[in-house]
């Protein structure tokens, strides 16, 4: 199977490289590296693959500088060898070829001895290439030595050797001898061919001897020998390189423009540019545009993109680029060369070049736009390079391009923690720092990342302009606008409001124009504020944005207006709307009847809708007729029409419903996507009621009137109606009919499933025939496959999917997989994944991904449930289920390995998440590292995955040890940690011993040691834990605080005072730096005393601490909550009594409230409400300890469930009649950014309302705990 896999991979890589070479004559570095990394990832590079890669590191990489190509070759050589590739002569020869192509200087003798060391015999090709290497250096002597070897081994001397000798002599400067080689060849019976002449041509080219070149060319032509274009290109290259570009044109005239000219010429061009000969390159490039038309892949009329791009890559100077651009433009070869060059500069993040290019463009009168700078800013953003960002902004300013809002928001501001600093930096660099763009961006930024306070102060700072309002609306809801307004006005002083009255007035008008209506409670708050500020005019305009006055207020208003004989239309409408909002249909209809002449359209519309909602079809229709009698041109809005259709349909008034649809058409009512959805729901509801005629007629009318286009979804009720009656034959007829009429086949899957369930083979056959006739056999097979799967008929499904010739259809498989995921059909999905194993072209990784996705979803669901039910007895069950699903995820993983499927990144991530969600403490990052590391150490990729399953990993490790395979130290640490996390102490110790005996100087790292301590404590091996800690400290490692804490706590429970002291000494120097509180030792010492039944000792030990603490107000007041909690938990009542007495004493004699308050809260926490109440009665001052109480609320708010609610409720109740304290508490909680839970808000809202104050937040819905 490994060989098979290798073969497949090889084919794939070969194809990839091959097609690149065939298409373009070259390979890019990126492609080569990608294939290389892929090979490394699979872990088993074959000799073939190695050869393939090595061969690609020479002239196939024209864009890469020569020395880098060789470095690449060496890197690949080394890495693949480490991974187990075995090299033979072909590899060494390929390497030699690469050396020659890259003009790499090396010692041929050393090369030979290396081969000898590796026990690889050099062959003829090896010697030939070594001779060429000597000759390139002009070392005839060296070449002769190799020639001697060849003769000794009786290897034939070929033309290649002679060609090398020509070069060799030429490079010593002896042209005569070079020419002589030709006669030597002839003497040896070998006629000089093109290769030899080419060597000669190159030799003359290097000398700049154009006459001799011409002569040779003529001579060869006369001999009817031919140079290929590619050969001539070599000569051109030699000329250019030797400094004779003036003769290039002479050679060009000999070109025959054969097939394949373009890729070769492109490579020549690129190669020339790479080697700094861009002028000649340009000359070559200009020679081929006429041919290019058949080979343009980039923009339709622009030639030279590859040229410009490579010039940018190789850092050609601006002046050169400008010159090329000008020429391209003049020659009409490129429409926008400067822009393209800029694009390349931006793409490769060459900021200086990009900015200089923009300067040039500006000089040329080309437009510059802010987004030109985004790619640069993105780069700086990623690396958090503030200086770079500012540099770009400065350049933009100098170029006269002002950054717009998008620039700041998306690419700049996220780079700064604080906008003031940013402004200061701008100012320092002479950039404008008060533009509108920046202000708006700032607001947007704050709105997204910041706090409301900042938004408000910004609004105040900039005077709210209309832009800001729009901005706000754009990003938030109208509710947010209301809240914003309230806070804005609240934050202004009397005088400010009065001074800004005009502004605010405009603002309200603006909001009205935008149809913004804010929620009533917020409106009332604003109303009250404005009342306080004495701005009656504003109150009036403010009313614009609130239509939701209370019913009674409106009624009063209405009566008042009526009495004053003023128009009541508007208020009447408001009243109707308000009544509708209260769902008070009876009253609304009465009001309507009473004031009928004054009714306006809006009121009718709301009423009609209300009647529809209440299923009151009679009144709804009457109202509609009534309003149309008043004004026949009136149109309702879409949803109200639809509501009518729905209710009419429901009451069987089909003709009326159809008439409404017709009216919609006549009045050209706008149809949105949601309207179509609504149509679907109307039809579907009718289908569920079983009204075949209703569904058909309505459907037909909708389509005939052109209100919607036929879609599968819209047609599905036509079938549903039959399925609901379990009339499957009619359903099938209907779907076939749908196909004929509309080309859709709705609900086929459901029909097939039903037929299978009913065993109705005749109809099933009919359905299949129909499908295969209309949609082809393949589609039909998939349909039937899915239907079998869905009905649990796996054997039949398997038969179908194994139909010869069937191939994977990713879209169909995806559809079914996602359906399974949506419906939590694990078994079905598992079966599909399994059955498709042999399916041709099936993306296995993708299939397993679906499975993992469902596992992850199920565990998430269960987790969610278990959190919600965390206090119910079911939690155990849930945990068990979760572990089932997590094990399923894990099994999927194992299967993937069996199938040798290499996971994609996202699959790895999904698995990591699933693990984390399941509380599986598996540090996946570490595992990914280990994965890379382990792969590079040439061990099975599977072992790394097994690391997740540490027990398996442990077994593998033992197995590996038997075979003397060693892993990197980090792998051992990871495994030990994983084992410890699972509580497998003995196994962990065993692995540790293996590591220590096999790896010199192996020590557990800090984290693993700490885990070891924790595990030892858990197992009650306290002595061992202490010695582990000792080792950790002595080897200058830092234990995690939790390890020390656990150890100390365990010692305290044993009453082991001595050991506590010893540990305290051990970590003396570390305690502060790792955040170990002194109270840890104090509290546990107290506990140890208590455990030893030494209650007096305990009190004597702790009490002075509080008293002395009081005398030194700077030091933090120690907390002994832990002691209280433990004593309560362990039900050590005598101790509790003693401690309680102490706490009260501290209150009464010294005014120290901390211990008493802590004790009070511990009582609350433990549900000992009566004890808490008594304590509070005895020490009333506890209620004043706001800081401590708040901290408690904040902390417990983070805990899930209702326990926290009752707790907080209890604390809040204490403050019940103290609005001021409650408010300050709320402010503090808010300022500290603590999430306030609903019960807290609800409580506060009640308090505020009772006091007649506005509630400045959205009140949570009433819950059972509200009082």
């Amino acid at each position: 199977s490994i060989q098979n896999k290798q073969a497949q991979n090889f084919d794939w890589a070969l194809n990839k490289l091959d097609s690149s070479v065939r298409r373009t004559g070259r390979i890019t570095r990126a492609l080569l590296l990608r294939i290389f990394h892929d090979m490394c990832r699979t872990g088993y590079p074959s000799s073939n693959q190695a050869l393939l890669l090595l061969r690609s590191c020479g002239s196939l990489l024209p864009e890469v500088p020569l020395c880098e190509r060789t470095e690449l070759a060496h890197m690949i050589w080394g890495k693949l060898q480490d991974l187990g590739a075995v090299y033979d002569a072909s590899h060494y020869n390929a390497l030699l070829k690469v050396y020659l192509q890259n003009e790499h200087k090396f010692s041929p003798t050393e090369f030979l001895s290396k081969m000898e060391e590796a026990n690889v015999q050099p062959n003829r090709v090896t010697y030939q290439r070594l001779i060429a290497a000597y000759c390139n250096e002009g070392d005839i002597e060296g070449a002769s030595k190799i020639l001697g070897f060849m003769k000794m081994k009786e290897l034939p001397i070929t033309e290649a050797v002679f060609s090398s000798l020509v070069t060799g002599h030429a490079r010593t400067g002896d042209m005569e001898n070079a020419e002589n080689i030709l006669s030597v060849m002839r003497d040896a019976g070998i006629e000089p061919g093109p290769d030899t002449y080419l060597a000669l041509l190159n030799a003359y080219a290097e000398k700049g001897d154009i006459n001799n070149i011409k002569q040779i060319l003529e001579k060869v032509e006369k001999m009817e020998g031919n140079f290929m274009d590619r050969d001539l290109m070599q000569v051109i290259f030699s000329l250019a390189k030797a400094g004779y570009p003036q003769y290039v044109q002479d050679i060009m005239s000999h070109m025959r423009y054969e097939r394949g000219y373009i890729p070769d010429a492109m490579n020549l061009t690129l190669n020339l540019i790479t080697q700094g000969l861009e002028d000649t390159a340009f000359q070559i490039f200009k020679s081929f545009p006429s041919l290019l038309s058949e080979n343009h892949s980039e923009s339709s009329m622009d030639y030279g993109n590859f040229f410009l791009r490579h010039c940018v890559t190789t850092d050609k100077p601006l002046s050169k680029l400008k010159q090329f651009c000008d020429e391209l433009k003049e020659a009409n070869m490129h429409s926008s060369p400067l822009q393209f060059t800029l694009y390349c500069a931006l793409e490769s993040k060459k900021a200086d070049l990009a900015i200089n290019l923009m300067k040039t463009m500006k000089e040329e009168g080309l437009p510059l736009r802010p987004h030109y700078c985004w790619p640069l800013l993105v780069g700086y953003q990623k690396e958090k390079n503030v200086q770079g960002t500012i540099g770009v902004l400065k350049a933009m300013h100098e170029l006269g391009v002002e950054p717009d809002v998008e620039t700041y928001t998306n690419y700049v501001l996220t780079n700064f923690d604080d906008i003031q600093t940013f402004r200061a930096l701008l100012q320092e660099n002479d950039c404008p720092f008060e533009t509108e763009g920046l202000s708006v961006a700032e607001l947007r930024h704050e709105a997204i990342y910041g706090t409301l306070e900042n938004v408000l102060s910004l609004c105040k700072y900039h005077q709210f302009s209309v832009i800001l309002v729009e901005c706000f609306l754009l990003f938030f809801s109208t509710e947010a606008v209301g809240y914003f307004l309230y806070n804005l006005i609240d934050s202004m002083s009397d005088s400010e409001v009065q001074a800004k009255e005009e502004h605010l007035r405009q603002y309200f008008h603006q909001l009205k124009k935008m149809n913004v209506v804010i929620p009533t409670n917020i409106y009332r708050g604003i109303h009250n504020l404005l009342d306080i500020y004495h701005v009656p005019e504003l109150i009036k305009v403010c009313g614009y944005i609130n239509t939701e006055l209370g019913v009674s207020a409106l009624e009063e208003e209405l009566e008042k207006l009526k009495a004053e004989k003023q128009p009541i239309g508007n208020v009447l409408k408001q009243l109707i709307v308000a009544l509708c909002a209260e769902e008070n249909m009876q009253k609304a209809l009465e009001v309507k009847a009473k004031y009928e002449p004054d009714m306006v359209v809006g009121g009718y519309a709301a009423l009609i809708n209300l009647c529809c909602r209440h299923d009151n079809v009679e009144d709804a229709m009457n109202l509609k007729e009534e309003v149309f009698r008043k004004d026949s041109s009136v149109a309702l809005d879409t949803n109200k029409y639809l509501a009518l259709v729905q209710v009419l349909g429901k009451h069987g008034r089909l003709e009326d419903a159809i008439n409404i649809l017709k009216e919609m058409k006549e009045k050209d009512i706008p149809i949105k996507d949601t309207t179509v959805t609504f149509f679907f729901h109307i039809l579907n509801a009718a289908a569920m009621r079983g009204g075949v005629e209703t569904v058909n007629r309505l459907h037909e009318s909708i389509l005939m009137l052109g209100l919607a286009k036929p879609s599968t979804n819209l047609c599905s009720p036509l079938i549903t109606v039959h399925l609901e009656k379990d009339d499957v034959p009619a359903a099938l007829e209907a779907t076939i009919d749908c196909y004929k009429k509309y080309g859709t086949i709705p609900r086929l899957h459901d029909i097939l499933c039903r037929l299978i369930e009913q065993g109705n083979t005749d109809l099933l056959q009919k359905a299949m025939d129909f499908m295969s006739q209309e949609r082809g056999e393949m589609t039909m097979l998939y349909d039937i496959f899915f239907a079998f799967l869905n009905t649990g008929k796996y054997k039949e499904a398997k038969k179908i999917i194994e139909t010869p010739g069937l191939r994977a259809r990713p879209a169909r498989l995806q559809w079914f997989a996602e359906k399974c995921i949506a419906a939590n059909q694990m078994e079905t999905l598992e079966n599909m994944v399994e059955m498709t194993q042999k399916l041709f072209e099936c993306d296995r990784e993708q299939m397993y991904y679906y499975l993992l996705k469902l596992c992850s979803k199920l565990t998430e669901n269960l987790l969610f449930c278990s959190i919600r039910n965390c206090y119910s007895s079911d939690s155990f069950l849930f945990t068990e289920n979760i572990s089932n699903d997590w094990q399923k995820a894990d099994a999927t993983w194992t299967k993937m390995q069996e199938e040798n499927v290499i996971p994609r990144e996202r699959t790895l991530r999904l698995l990591a998440d699933t693990l984390k969600n399941n509380g599986q403490e598996v540090p996946f990052d570490v595992d990914v590292n280990a994965l890379l590391y382990a792969t590079s150490m040439q061990c099975d990729i599977a072992i790394v995955f097994f690391f997740i399953l540490c027990v398996e990993a442990y077994n593998i490790l033992l197995e590996a040890q038997k075979k003397y395979i060693m892993f990197p130290p980090s792998a051992y640490s990871t495994l030990i940690k994983a084992l410890l996390a699972e509580g497998c102490l003995e196994e962990a110790i065993k692995v540790k011993n293996i590591a220590e005996t096999h790896i010199k100087g192996f020590t557990l790292n800090d984290a693993a040691s700490s885990l070891l301590i924790i595990t030892q404590v858990r197992r009650d091996y306290l002595k061992d834990a202490m010695s582990t800690l000792k080792t950790v400290v002595e080897s200058d490692m830092v234990p995690i605080p939790l390890a020390v804490t656990r150890l100390i706590q365990a010692l305290a429970m044993k009453g082991d005072l001595e050991s506590i002291c010893a540990v305290e000494k051990m970590v003396e120097n570390l305690a502060a730096s790792i955040g170990l509180s002194r109270m840890l030792f104090v509290n546990n010492t107290v506990l140890a005393h208590i455990k030893n039944n030494n209650l007096d000792m305990a009190v004597e030990y702790i009490e002075p601490l509080f008293i002395s603490g009081m005398q030194n107000p700077d030091s933090p007041i120690p907390s002994m909550s832990y002691v209280f909690r433990k004593v309560i938990e362990e039900r050590l009542e005598p101790a509790l009594e003693k401690l309680s007495a102490m706490a009260e004493r501290l209150v009464n004699q010294f005014g120290v409230y901390k211990p008493a308050t802590d004790l009070f809260l511990q009582y609350v926490d433990a549900g000992r409400v009566d004890d808490a109440r008594f304590l509070l009665q005895r020490c009333g001052g506890i209620a004043e300890q706001k800081k401590i109480l708040m901290a408690f609320i904040a902390k417990s708010s983070q805990k899930p469930g209702q326990i926290k609610e009752t707790r907080n409720l209890f604390v809040m109740k204490l403050l019940d009649n103290d609005l001021a304290s409650a408010k300050t508490l709320f402010e503090k909680v808010k300022a500290a950014n603590i999430h306030t839970d609903e019960i807290f808000l609800k409580r506060l809202a009640v308090l505020l309302r009772n006091a007649g104050e506005p509630v400045p937040f959205t009140e949570p819905p009433v819950s059972v705990f509200s009082d």
Binding site: Q339, D637, D673, F680, I745, A811
Partner: protein, 105 residues
Amino acid sequence: MAATRGSSRRVFELFVSRIPWTLTTKELKDYFAQFGTVRKCMLPFDKETGFHKGLCWVGFSSEEGLHNALQKDSHILEGVKLQIRQQKPRSFRSQYADEGVADMS
């Protein structure tokens, strides 16, 4: 009532591709405005690279605008020919409808 507010009406969308990197929303909006009122113009940028992807959705407020734009032979903006085609209205659950296979509802 019947406050058929502008934003809720159907938008007639044009799909534009092969947009040169130098152009941005403003230029496209200005250009297509000659055919009718442009309600929206969406040219997504890749936040990873800072370049847009060369694709844009231009929404006209009337069918006429869309029609006019489609009528024109070629659209050349700053010397580059843009590709346009009508964006099919994206209907409910269109991902399945577009698949061209039997329904699976």
